[in-house]
Amino acid sequence: MTEMSGADMVVQALVDLGVDTVFGYPGGAVLPIYDALFNHPTIKHVLVRHEQAATHAAEGYARSTGKPGVVLVTSGPGATNAVTGITDALLDSIPMIVLTGQVPTNLIGTDAFQECDTVGITRHCTKHNYLVMDPDRLGAIMHEAFYIATHGRPGPVVIDIPKNVQVATGKYSLPEKIEHQSYRPQVEPDADAIAQAIDMIAAAERPIFYTGGGVINAGPDASAALRQLVSLTGAPVTSTLMGLGAFPSDDPKWLGMLGMHGTYESNMAMNRADLIIAVGARFDDRVTGRLDAFSPDSKKIHIDIDRSSINKIVPVDLAIVGDAGRALDALIAAWADKGHKPRDLGEWWRRVDGWRATRCLDFPEKKEASADIMPQRAVKALFDATRGRDPIITTEVGQHQMWAAQHFGFSAPNRWLTSGGLGTMGYGFPAAVGAQIAHSGRLVICIAGEASLQMNIQEMGTVSQYRLPVKIFILNNEWMGMVRQWQELTYESRYSNSYSDSLPDFVKLAAAYGWTGLRIDTLGELEAGIQTMIDTPGPVIVDCRVAKLANCFPMIPSGAAHTDMILQPNDIVGTMDDEAKALV
C-alpha cells in the first residue's frame, strides 16, 4: 500500500500493467496525468493531432501486437472526439483502455467548462466504463479495467477521472489476483460439446471452416491450431474480413474471404456445405447475405467466446462457448483421442474446384504501359513487391479496402488491420501509425482511398514528429468509389455527392509535412513507383491514380443470396426494389 496522487497512481498502474505506449492529446482536465508522464522513462506518449486518431492508433497497436491499446484524452471535446474509435473497437472486439479527464467531482452536473457526460455518452459503445469518484478506488479500477478489456471478448473500457481525483491522494497497491465479482467469461469449452463437434466434423461430407476475428484475438497459437485442425480434417477454409491472416492465403485449402465481396467459391461452398464450423465469427449481415437462403442444408457448429453471438442471427445446431484457441486445441485433441481419420472429401473438393474455375477475382485490364491502372492490379503489384518483407497492411474503408482484402495475401495473423464492424473511414492511417510505433523496423503500409484518407490526414504531423516510416498507398479514383458503385447499381448512376472534388495535391502535401511524395499515373510506372516507395526511408505518400470507374466484384447485392453473386459488371440487370434499397 502506497499513498500517492491519483495521477501518479494512473501512471504506476500503467507501468505495473506493462504498458509501454500511450496515444493521447492533452487538455485541462488531464494535466495532472500529463505531468506525471513528463519525461517518463518507460512509457512513451505519442502525441496525435486529433483524439479520434489516438483511438485508431491504439487499435492498430492492439491489433498488431495482441496487447491492449491505451488512450489518454481530456474531458469534453477530447472525450467526444474519441467516441468513434471507441465504437470501432467495440464492434471489432479490440482491447482498449481510454482514460478521459473529467471536471472535478464538485462541478459534475453543472455544465462546467469542457464537461460532458462521458460515462453516459460511452455507456453503450464500451464494454464497460467507470467514473472514478474516489482516489482510493482508482488503482483497483485501472487493473480491473485492463482485465475486462482483455478477457473474454475483448473491447474498449473507458475510465473517466475527475481532475480532483487525479490531484488528491489515495492508496495504491498491486492487486494479487484480479477477478471481477460478476464478470467471468467462459474460456474453457465444454468437453461434451467438443466431443460432439469432432464427431460431426469427422462425419461431414461437405464441411467448411468459417473463421473470424476471434481467431486473431485468441492469439497466434489459435491460428496455428486452426491450420493443424484443417490439415487433419482436410476441409476448406474461408474467413471474414476480420479473420484474414489466421489461415495462409497460399494454402490450397484457402478459399478466400466470404460474404458481400468474398469469393464465389467461398460463398458457394458455404451455401452447399453440409457442415459449417464457425470459429470466432459472428454471422454478420455482410457475410450471410439473404438470411433465409443462407447455407440452407448445413448443420452449424458455432465456437465463440461471447454467448450472445450464438443464435443471434443464424440458429446453430451446436454451440461451443469458449476461447477460439482453446476450443481448436480441444478439437485437435479429441480428433486424436477418438482415432478419427480424414474422410475422402474428393467429391466436395471437385465441386469447390468447379467454383474456383470461375476465377471470380479476375478483372478486365489493358496491358500497355500507358494504360490506366486497375486498382486490383495496384494491390496485386503491392503484394508482389512486398512478399518476403512480412508487411503490416492497414486500410481505410471503401472499394480499396475490399480490393486489398481480395488481392493481398496474408500468411500470418496480426498483419491485417481494417475497420470491419463499424466501417470507419479515417481508421487506416492512424492505425498504421499505431502499428508502426509498435513495430519500428517493419514495413507498414496503409492502403487508402483518397476520400477516407482525408478524414484523419492531420496525422501526417504525428508521423513526422516521431519519424515513423509509414507508407500510404492511395488508390486514388477521385470518387468515394464504394458510394459511387452503390449509386450506379441502386440509383441509376445518379452520383449524388460522391465525387472527391477539390482534392489536395498529395505530393505537395507530402512535401509540406517533410514526407516523400510520389505519383503513379500509368501501368508502366506502377512497379517502379512501388519499389521507390519501399526503398525510400521515412514516410512516403503514393498518389496512385487508378481507373476511376472500376467496380468491386464479385458482389452479393444487398438482400440477395450467396448463390446470386454478381461476378462481372455485365451481370447486373435492372434496378433494385425498395426492399433491397432499404438494406445497408
Partner: protein, 171 residues
C-alpha cells in the same frame, strides 16, 4: 414498402446486478438500443450491504429474441445472473397499485363494494375520495383499474411487476 414486426410472448426476467451508478441506464439502454420491449421494470437493492440489486423486467418477443435478451443482459459486466422466470416454470408475480377515486353517492359506494371484492385496502379516505391499495397480478390490477374508471377514478400509481420462483429453491 412497409416495415414488418414479429409477434412475441411475455417473459418475466429476474436480473441481479451490482448496485452501481448507471446500471439502470445500462439495462434500459440495452433494451432501447437493440429494439427490445420493456413492459415493466422494477429495481431495488436486495442485499444487506446494499451491494446487489434485483431488477425484474417484463418483456415480450419471439423465443429467439428472448434468448438474445438474456444473453445480452448476461454479458454486461455488472450483471451477476439472469433468470427467465417464465421459462423456469411456476412463479409468483405481484404488483401494487394505488388507485384514487373521487365522487359521492352511489359511485362511491359501488367503488368501495368492488374494492372489497378485489381485496383492495382503503389507505386514505376523505368525504369525497378514496385511495385504494391493491396487490396482485398485473391482470388483476388492470381489471380493478378498469372497473374504477366507471367509479370516478382520477389517479393511478403502479409499481410494476416483482416476481419470484415458487418452491424452496433460490436464484
Amino acid at each position: 414498402m412497409k416495415i414488418k414486426t414479429e409477434a412475441g410472448e411475455r417473459h418475466v426476467l429476474a436480473v441481479t446486478v451490482d448496485n452501481e451508478a448507471g446500471i439502470l441506464a445500462k439495462i434500459t439502454g440495452l433494451f432501447s438500443a437493440r429494439g427490445y420491449n420493456i413492459e415493466s421494470l422494477t429495481v431495488a437493492d436486495i442485499s444487506a450491504d446494499h451491494a446487489l440489486s434485483r431488477i425484474t423486467i417484463v418483456t415480450s418477443g419471439p423465443p429467439a429474441v428472448i434468448d438474445q435478451i438474456i444473453a445480452q443482459l448476461d454479458r454486461l459486466v455488472p450483471v451477476h445472473k439472469v433468470t427467465d422466470l417464465t421459462d423456469q416454470g411456476a412463479h409468483v408475480e405481484r404488483e401494487i397499485a394505488l388507485v384514487k377515486v373521487a365522487g359521492t353517492g352511489d359511485k362511491r359506494i359501488e367503488a368501495l363494494r368492488m374494492a372489497d371484492v378485489f381485496r383492495a385496502k382503503v389507505v386514505d379516505t376523505t368525504l369525497t375520495s378514496f385511495i385504494f391499495e391493491i396487490t396482485g397480478t398485473s391482470d388483476k390490477v388492470d381489471r380493478f383499474i378498469a372497473l374504477m374508471r366507471e367509479c370516478g377514478l382520477v389517479e393511478v400509481g403502479r409499481t410494476g411487476v416483482v416476481a419470484i420462483g415458487r418452491g424452496s429453491e433460490a436464484l
